[in-house]
Amino acid sequence: MIALIKKDLYLVGKQAWTLLGIALLFCISPKLESFGSTYAIVLAMTLPLTALTYDERCHWDQYMAMTPCPPKKIVLSKYLFALLLIAAALVITLIVPLARSFVTGDTEFDLAEKLVGSGSIMTMVLLVNALMIPTAYRFGVEKGRLTMMLMFFLAFGIIIGGARVMGGDKMFGWMETMPLATLGVCVLAAVLFLNVVSYFLAVRFYLKRRSGAYD
């Protein structure tokens, strides 16, 4: 498993260090912090896809089929790699500004606010991964990317359309009465659950792709 994550790191190494470096530099300055966060999100969202693209191009799945590495581990390594990148992005968007506030004695720094902001974004990235990884195995990386975007827009369309038909208050009013922390935990749990479902789907698609069922 570690070997597979290592392999993905070899693949995205240069890109990852460049994005990390830029994000880090931006996050050090309070005025440019939002740019830093953007770079961190780009890092967490695009690099798993880059690794999948490399794998697909060289038919890495065919090579791995000849080794004693179980397909479940191969797929799981992709999720863990994506989680690793999310963790790196969180460190940059959360820890760097926190450290800066300690060093500069910035009293206006609000850790809770920052936690909610970064946490929400990273939960969103987790959701994207849950959609992206199985679709990439099912349709290939390029078609998978398009399918994922369509699914995303469709989901938002349903939410916005539903809010218009039912009324925003009826649909989302319950959220206002719920404590923010509880809401956050619920959303995170739902997204994590979706990742678990996504993993099992991804394993299934991976095996079918490897056997040539989608060729």
Partner: protein, 284 residues
């Protein structure tokens, strides 16, 4: 008594445009089996089926006595070194990095052996895979396959596209591997001369069907090339002939030596002659 390391019985796999039909094949310990056939004959499919990388439609495959669809087969892959027709490694990976990945993949990965093979094959460890020549990529695949204590080597067109010197070097490596106790090699290729050099058994696949599977020496003894006039050819029993080429001045035919009588001169056939004649005969 020789035990079989690979046993294939009644194996079938169907695709939209290609079918592998009722394949029966054994690979005894200590032997090199050459799987020969034209492009698309089913050689790669057979190797992928042996490794259970694709599902079969019928038949059984056992490797070291274990059904390859049993849950434990994945662990048995530790003992099998595979070189595919291309080395399916991401282009920006280096040989050194591949070694690190494989050391986490195989329990018995031998880094010293891998480094030794890289050195022996003259492969720069820090050069990216995309900058390797075809020969270098195949050598890298072979180096990886030989560095985890495998007892069985499955080589899919491992010598194709390589110059004769490199091919010869690799054939020596495979021959040395096969003579070790309990080892065996399945080498698929359409370069028949390579197979003739090192194989003990030859299996000929043609359009998804096994045309023959025989000891190489038996094949070379059994068949011969008969060159004679059309009149003389008329005296040869029909069941002795396995392929004919009619020329302006006479006939050239692949015949079973034992069945040709009457003082006709039968020359020794090469494996390539046998395969070519039999494939043409099969088309008829």
């Amino acid at each position: 008594m020789e035990s079989n390391i690979v046993e294939i019985k009644g194996l079938s796999k169907h695709y939209k445009d290609f079918s592998l039909e009722n394949l029966n094949l054994n690979l005894p310990a200590g032997c090199i089996l050459g799987l020969v056939g034209e492009n698309g004959a089913g050689k790669s499919t057979t190797i992928r089926l042996i490794m259970d990388a694709i599902g079969r439609d019928a038949g059984t495959i056992t490797v070291f006595g274990m059904d390859n669809q049993s849950p434990d087969f994945i662990r048995l892959k530790e003992d099998i070194g595979v070189v595919l027709d291309e080395t399916y490694v991401p282009e920006i990976i280096t040989a050194k990095q591949l070694g690190k990945i494989m050391s986490g993949t195989y329990r018995h990965w031998d880094q010293n052996a891998y480094d030794g093979w890289l050195k022996k094959f003259g492969l720069p460890p820090d050069k990216k895979f995309k900058d390797y020549s075809r020969g270098m990529t195949m050598k890298l695949g072979i180096a990886a396959a030989l560095s985890h204590g495998a007892k069985l080597l499955l080589l899919d067109e491992a010598t194709s596209g390589l110059d004769p010197m490199v091919r010869d070097e690799l054939l020596d490596v495979f021959a040395d591997f096969a003579v070790q106790d309990g080892h065996a090699v399945l080498l698929s290729s359409h370069i028949v001369s390579d197979l003739e050099k090192i194989c003990d058994y030859i299996a000929f696949l043609h359009q998804g069907k096994l045309v023959l599977c025989e000891e190489k020496d038996v094949l070379l003894d059994r068949y011969g090339i008969l060159k004679c006039s059309k009149e003389e050819f008329g005296t040869v029993p029909e069941n002795a002939v396995h392929g004919v080429r009619n020329g302006t001045y006479g006939v050239e035919a692949l015949v079973e030596r034992d069945r040709v009588r009457g003082g006709l001169l039968v020359e020794r056939a090469t494996l390539e002659d046998i395969i070519l004649y039999l494939s043409k005969e099969d088309k008829k």
